[in-house]
């Protein structure tokens, strides 16, 4: 039963996931942890960490959530549900988008999406760094990650690695 629920919910999220996976992270955390209780807050951040550290598109984090909920079928269903509806849209819209290259509506939509995506990604970062009650140590590590990314051109893996070391020392 939870497999069907998971699939339908992720499929709905797929349709609104402008900006990709980072945009839907706060919602996944809310639904999977707060509403359904399938994962604890700390399990969620750990699944996220594994998904970030492994190679590949970060949407694969959804397969880890599916795995926790219902094993291997859960992993397939979660990933498929998150990708398929959006893929259908991409399939249809790609050519349409070219055809409306000079339409004022296209330009308006492009400009409109940007602030929404920024708001969602910011929320995702905040929610992930705040599992349960606020913890200054997690906020400090997140702040270092953010500053490191903005101030340097390091491969993000180095920043994740630094986060791991800080985690071992502080947590």
């Amino acid at each position: 039963m939870s497999l069907v629920e998971l699939g339908l919910y992720f499929a709905a999220l797929s349709l609104v996931s402008v900006g990709g996976l980072p945009s839907v992270m706060p919602e996944m955390q809310r639904y999977v942890v707060d509403v359904k209780g399938w994962l604890t807050p700390s399990e969620f951040i750990q699944a996220f960490a594994v998904g970030q550290a492994a190679p590949g598109p970060n949407v694969l984090i959804t397969s880890l959530i599916g795995w926790k909920v219902a094993g291997l079928p859960g992993a397939f269903v979660a990933l498929g549900a998150m990708c398929f509806p959006a893929a259908v849209i991409a399939w249809w819209v790609a050519e349409l988008w070219d055809r409306f290259k000079d339409s004022p509506w296209r330009k308006a939509i492009q400009r409109a999406i940007a602030p929404i995506v920024v708001g969602m990604i910011l929320s995702g970062g905040f929610v992930l760094a705040t599992p349960g009650s606020p913890d200054w140590r997690l906020w400090l590590i997140a702040a270092i990650g953010a500053v490191g990314m903005l101030a340097t051109k390091l491969n993000p893996l180095w920043l994740l690695g630094a986060g791991g070391i800080l985690g071992a020392v502080l947590l």
Binding site: V18, P26, G56, I121, L128, A142, G167
Partner: protein, 186 residues
């Protein structure tokens, strides 16, 4: 790109080459897929030009869904139709799917170890920081306009603090944002 003059750009010859290209992107994309997609498709295999790549990724960033996943759908369709989309998508996901699950199973086995748990939690917090950094990078050029700043702030308050579902926030927010953009407020 200086190499652009060396070999002409040509799409993959067949589905096999399409699969192996995307498989290779997925296989080595440590620390983010986009740079590897660029290296593979533009620099090494010369399937497309720099401009074409930028344009396609730009489109995929505006569509819902994973950017690079969408790119596999769009490019697969352009070159080989439906079969191309399916093959490119599966190629991209195949190995990373196995890796991420394998790593997670391994981690779950070992997660009674408190130090390891602390390390992984730290990695997660740093990953959250990368999100915040990305938001600042994308937001800085647009947030000077009051309407854009208000939308960003409203999204944050509703989603991060009040924990309202994005199934409501995104459609309503987009409608307001398109309205604002049509009035030249964004």
């Amino acid at each position: 790109m200086s190499e652009a003059r060396e070999t002409p750009v040509a799409p993959p010859k067949d589905l096999r080459e399409l699969f192996s290209g995307f498989f290779w992107i997925g296989a080595r994309s440590f620390g983010g897929v986009l740079p590897w997609a660029y290296r593979t498709m533009v620099e090494e295999r010369r399937w497309m030009t720099h401009a074409d790549f930028t344009e396609t990724i730009g489109l995929c960033q505006f569509l819902p869904g994973p950017n690079i996943g969408n790119a596999s759908i769009v490019l697969g369709k352009r070159w080989f139709g439906l079969a191309g989309s399916i093959v490119a998508f599966l190629g991209l996901m195949a190995l990373p799917f196995v890796w991420v699950l394998g790593l997670f199973v391994l981690y779950t086995d070992l997660s009674s170890n408190e130090t390891l748990k602390a390390i992984v939690t730290g990695v997660g917090a740093a990953g959250a920081g990368l999100f915040i950094g990305t938001a600042i990078k994308l937001g800085r050029p647009i947030a000077r306009k009051p309407a854009a700043f208000a939308l960003i702030a409203a999204c944050f308050v509703l989603v991060a603090l009040a924990r309202v579902s994005i199934l409501y926030v995104i459609p309503v927010g987009l409608a307001l944002a398109v309205f604002a953009a049509r009035r030249k407020w964004l």
